[in-house]
């Protein structure tokens, strides 16, 4: 293979090779990335909200039939929830009076830091947010939505931005349980937008639609953060445990503002 290399091209190539070498050897890549993200985050925020609106519009246009069915299901679920709310209101009153009787003040379970989602990594299930080490963010801190839905945890931290490793990332795994049933298991990221609930005891009956919440067992996440809903249960005689697929409760299209839990009781 003969390549005709002119001096200008050779100089450009050599300059780039030296530049990459220096950036990698001196660990200067964090500063380079931090500069680019800080400089571009206002444009990226606009792009994220524009993209979300655009894809919402597209999906609404092309999925009218599905939306009708979904609306009907949601209506039924809404009615069920109303009846539950009535029950909960009574419990709330009871709880309030008990608190007053025992003189227990409401304690905050964790401290939150609000942040905005600015971009998604093309090669993996991770996001970039506009808060970094200068805002007190550290590796491993959980990231949730305003509705206490678990999104992921902080991966790499830069000065002005950080990486959020989504729970759907293949490297992610944590302890969780099925809400109100106390069935514990291990949630693993399956890549893309999939979650797998593993190590579930075989003798337990698990139904589709059951809610999955975090448990405090591993100490990675605070307990009772919503993970998702059971979508499909797999049970075979050959396997010692049963597994289930989980539909994550967060939607990337609705993630503009997120909350980082900077401090929580383990």
């Amino acid at each position: 293979m003969k390549l005709n290399f002119k001096p200008k091209k050779a100089i450009l190539l050599i300059v780039f090779i030296i530049l990459i070498f220096v950036i990698d050897v001196t660990n200067f890549s964090k500063s380079v990335k931090n500069f680019f993200f800080s400089f571009s985050s206002p444009i990226q925020k606009k792009f994220v909200s524009g993209g979300n609106s655009f894809f919402d519009f597209l999906s609404n246009t092309f999925q009218k039939e599905n939306l009708k069915k979904e609306l009907e299901t949601e209506r039924i679920r809404n009615q069920e929830l109303f009846s539950q709310i009535i029950g909960l209101k009574d419990l709330e009153k009871e709880n309030q009076s008990l608190r007053e009787a025992l003189n227990i003040g409401l304690e905050k379970d964790f401290q939150l830091e609000i942040c905005s989602f600015i971009s998604k990594n093309i090669s993996g299930n991770s996001l970039a947010i506009d808060k970094g080490s200068e805002d007190g963010i550290a590796t491993g801190q959980p990231v949730i939505t305003g509705q206490k839905v678990l999104v992921g945890r902080i991966g790499s931290v830069y000065n002005n931005f950080s990486e959020v490793v989504l729970i759907t990332n293949k490297s992610s795994s944590f302890d969780a349980r099925i809400f109100e049933k106390e069935i514990d298991g291990l949630v693993k990221g399956g890549g893309d937008s999939e979650l797998l609930f593993d190590l579930l005891p075989k003798e337990e009956e698990i139904s589709d639609g059951a809610l999955v919440v975090t448990s405090a067992l591993g100490g990675i996440f605070p307990k009772d953060l919503l993970v998702g809903q059971i979508k499909e249960v797999h049970k075979t005689d050959l396997e010692p445990f049963q597994t289930a697929k989980i539909q994550p409760s967060f939607d990337l299209r609705q993630l503009e503002n997120l909350f980082i839990i900077t401090n929580f009781k383990k």
Partner: protein, 106 residues
């Protein structure tokens, strides 16, 4: 010449922002397309100025590296991919010509 390089640089910069922030939910058969590498391929196929082509490959890779988050890949990963694309297209255009678009080989 410099004007062209600046236009390419601005185009690649906005393309990487568009890809990482606007098209986060966009997938073709479950795969998020890498528009920057696609642009590097198309520019390398349809343009002739060899310095511009090398510059496009290097800057396309640099933009992707600068905007990739996490520590799973070293800085320069996408530059190497873009350079490989550049060399493959440079080599193959000696054997395959694009008569209507490309008039001479590099």
């Amino acid at each position: 010449m410099i004007k062209r390089l600046i236009i390419v640089l601005i185009f690649l910069y906005f393309l990487v922002l568009f890809q990482n922030s606007f098209l986060i939910n966009f997938k073709i058969f479950g795969i998020s397309p890498n528009l920057v590498l696609l642009a590097v391929i198309l520019i390398n196929v349809f343009f002739e100025d060899s310095f511009l082509l090398l510059f496009t490959a290097l800057m396309g890779g640099f933009c992707l590296d600068a905007f990739s988050i996490g520590s799973s890949r070293f800085f320069g990963y996408y530059i190497i991919i873009a350079l490989v694309i550049y060399f493959i297209i440079s080599y193959s255009t000696k054997y395959f010509t694009f008569p209507h678009i490309r008039t001479s080989s590099k």
